[in-house]
Symmetry: C2
Subunit: 143 residues, 2 copies
DNA sequence: TATAAAATGACAACGGTTATCATTTTCAGG
DNA sequence: CCTGAAAATGATAACCGTTGTCATTTTATA
């Protein structure tokens, strides 16, 4: 967490940019998040501890975090993007409940292998992937 | 193709809606398409043979086609949505070249099985899924 | 053919995101 | 420490894809 901030500052230094209170505030709240968060949501959470920080700055910081490889933007069907932490433990996929909106992350290494396999057959070199399963979670399917 | 139009008209009748020249024109161009097309692109193609048809009508027709189960909206990371034909041969996935933008469709039944399996472990009932592999196509990776 | 219901097209409005720009802040170098 | 150039900020306007509005036209049923 503190090291995440350090990672960000290292990236900032490397790019000749500047460390600011606002960036640290946004990054801090972002890294404290568990799952996925939209720019708007993050903006409102940040506002609680650091009022005055603009939505624009939140967007800019999220873009910076993404460039630094510390965040990843996702889009689950809707036009609104959400961001998640990009940690060492990457390449997870998502189960999305279409009724309550719950999102569960999972990993399945054997699927990865199969993906590589398929890609090879079509002459592709895979650099990234996205897999989303839509359906009903336990609660919603039994209710 | 003609039967696609027939399908659409059947859906229109069932819903108590009305068959119009505009809808047929949009549907015709849409069904003649090979891969994925955005509303804007479709609008421009339609304009060639049927000038005067508005972008709004194209959007409305695409929505209608989607409701009828004849089209499917997709979003490949970008905010702009694209539409593809939804044929009997559904549940295919996508390989997307991040350099040239080429999109290849593929099917891999064994991946489907695995998806079911994963979902079951998390108590989910899967109704739909999306899998996208991003990378470089043969041309782009060798160039 | 008259009529009610629905579709159209032009345009405004919307939501999420990005650009603009004057002002403030950071951080070298002296 | 200062000073100054480069960059960041926040307010706001603009943007883009998409949807709503509404007066007018078209469809299809009686």
């Amino acid at each position: 967490m503190a090291n995440k901030i350090a990672d960000l500052n290292r990236y900032i230094a490397k790019k000749g940019l500047k460390v600011t209170r606002q960036r640290e505030a946004v990054a801090e709240v972002f890294f404290a998040e568990k799952g996925h968060i939209s720019a708007e949501e993050l903006y409102m959470k940040v506002a609680k501890s650091h009022p005055g920080i603009g939505l624009t700055t939140v967007y800019r910081t999220l873009k910076l975090l993404t460039e630094a490889g510390l965040a990843k933007e996702r889009r689950f069907g809707e036009p609104q993007g959400v961001y998640e932490k990009e940690d060492e433990d990457r390449h997870h996929d998502h189960l999305i409940c279409t009724r309550c909106g719950k999102i569960v992350e999972f990993k399945e290494p054997s699927i990865e292998e199969m993906q590589e396999d398929v890609a090879r057959r079509y002459g592709f070199v895979v650099t990234d992937h996205k897999m989303e399963l839509y359906g009903l979670c336990r609660t919603c399917s039994t209710a």
